[in-house]
Assembly symmetry: C3
Homo-oligomer: 203 residues x 3
């Protein structure tokens, strides 16, 4: 459990960092950037907890999540311009973060005995809603509705976790396989530009 | 109660279909369209349940709502371009859906003994907030703030339901009259372009 | 406690009035303006209650808050164009409202024994999230992410309240000092254009 907790905090930090880098294009002040960084990191799990009625939400009694998001956002704010990172530096950490949020969200919902489809949705919501709220705050159509298999990778991972868990596999192994599959689908989609069918505007 | 349940699912489907048709103008992929369709269908009742503290929200233990939204969204995604429906094909189903969500939301709140104004607001929120969230996700000023008596029809129906219920009418009759009045106000507003006073920009 | 309640209602009214004046630039109808006015007034406390799990949210059983927001919004809608108020007429009432929402939100969270950082965040959320939701509904990047020390004044006031309370000062005195400090920081920031460091777009 301690390893999961540490990885969870790392995923919050990665989310906060990438959100700060994206918020750069807007003229936001330090406070705005840090808020958006924190919300990106903890927003998905917060929406999940609200819908499931697990209240108060998970970070109320454990401020470490908020602190990690604030520190990561602040450091990136001041160092971000200095460091000229290659554009795809965060693709792999981001995919791992997505996988981690997905399996944690799905596991939490499974413990509450909700139907499997809903458990999988809670995994997807945990994985992607931080980014959705970030994009709404930045006044953009959420990226995940347009990007290569981001939420789909999360959904596939959540379904795999549930299937493996029902098949009697130990939960830790099921989590491992689900995470690997989420990361693999996501990175393959980026590498070969695989995406779902799109609606072209014909209006 | 079974009839209400069936009608409720139909209203979710209608919301999902119209949302998909509207999402067409954006370059969204299949996932994005389905998410927006589902949220349009269940968003209003979800916000109502959160505010009232009825947790977990209503669709967590009954995935049929989500399934109906997903199926309706997916079918519309693939068939939507094929079928060239007349522009106002959905105006009547949409008005009935609005009426239904309104009376369900108001009834739910009345059972919790909240003040009548709040019960009416919960009816309006159930009726219109799915569309509000849809428009926020699509990065538009919510349509209901600009459109002909949409939320007003819902508000009037909710108030009528409460008044009739207090006057001692059987609840099922009160619901029927409230729904008819909501549909009538909405369709009359469309037919004769009745709307509330608007602020013209003088800035 | 009665004085706090009255001031709280006044703060809701001020929020609703300023929101209506800002909504002027959009072509909204009466309903849209009133909804945005009410949400601006009660949105911050609502998000706080959701996150803390204080459900149903505070205005469900006390409709006075909603009524005050509706009346203030409606009156401003009809009189707003007539009255040509000086541009900075509401700066001081607005700063007092921010201070009041902040200390109420922080106090509520302190009573639930949450960590001090989280209590301070709940103060900030109570103070500023009404405006955040207003700006999202109006399809703008929330103003507080760009404006002179608005949220920062709230954060400083919340921290001061917690520190003074822990130092053994009577709670009412701590609240007074925290409010004065919030108002002072906010007004000083406006007067001398003090702001946090900003990211300039270099993309």
């Amino acid at each position: 459990m301690n390893l999961i907790y540490l990885l969870d905090l790392c995923a919050v930090a990665v989310c906060a960092i990438t959100a700060t880098l994206e918020a750069r294009r807007r003229e936001l002040d330090l406070f705005g950037v840090v808020v958006i960084a924190v919300i990106s990191g903890i927003g998905g799990g917060t929406v999940r907890d609200l819908l499931l009625g697990r209240l108060p939400v998970y970070w109320i009694h454990d401020p470490v999540y908020v602190v990690v998001g604030m520190v990561a956002g602040t450091l990136t704010f001041f160092l971000g311009r200095r460091l000229r990172l290659p554009k795809n530096f965060f693709l792999v950490p981001d995919a791992i973060g997505l996988a981690l949020f997905t399996v944690i969200g799905t596991s939490v919902a499974m413990q509450l005995d909700v139907p499997w489809l809903i458990a999988a949705l809670m995994g997807v919501i945990s994985g992607v809603f931080g980014g959705v709220i970030r994009d709404i705050l930045c006044n953009e159509v959420p990226l995940i509705f347009r990007t290569d298999l981001y939420a789909t990778a999360s959904f596939a991972g959540a379904l795999l976790l549930i299937a493996l868990d029902r098949s009697g596999l130990p939960h830790s192994l099921a989590i491992l396989f689900a995470m690997v599959s989420t990361v693999a689908v996501r990175l393959a989609a980026i590498r070969w530009h695989i995406h779902l069918p799109r609606l072209r505007s014909d209006a």
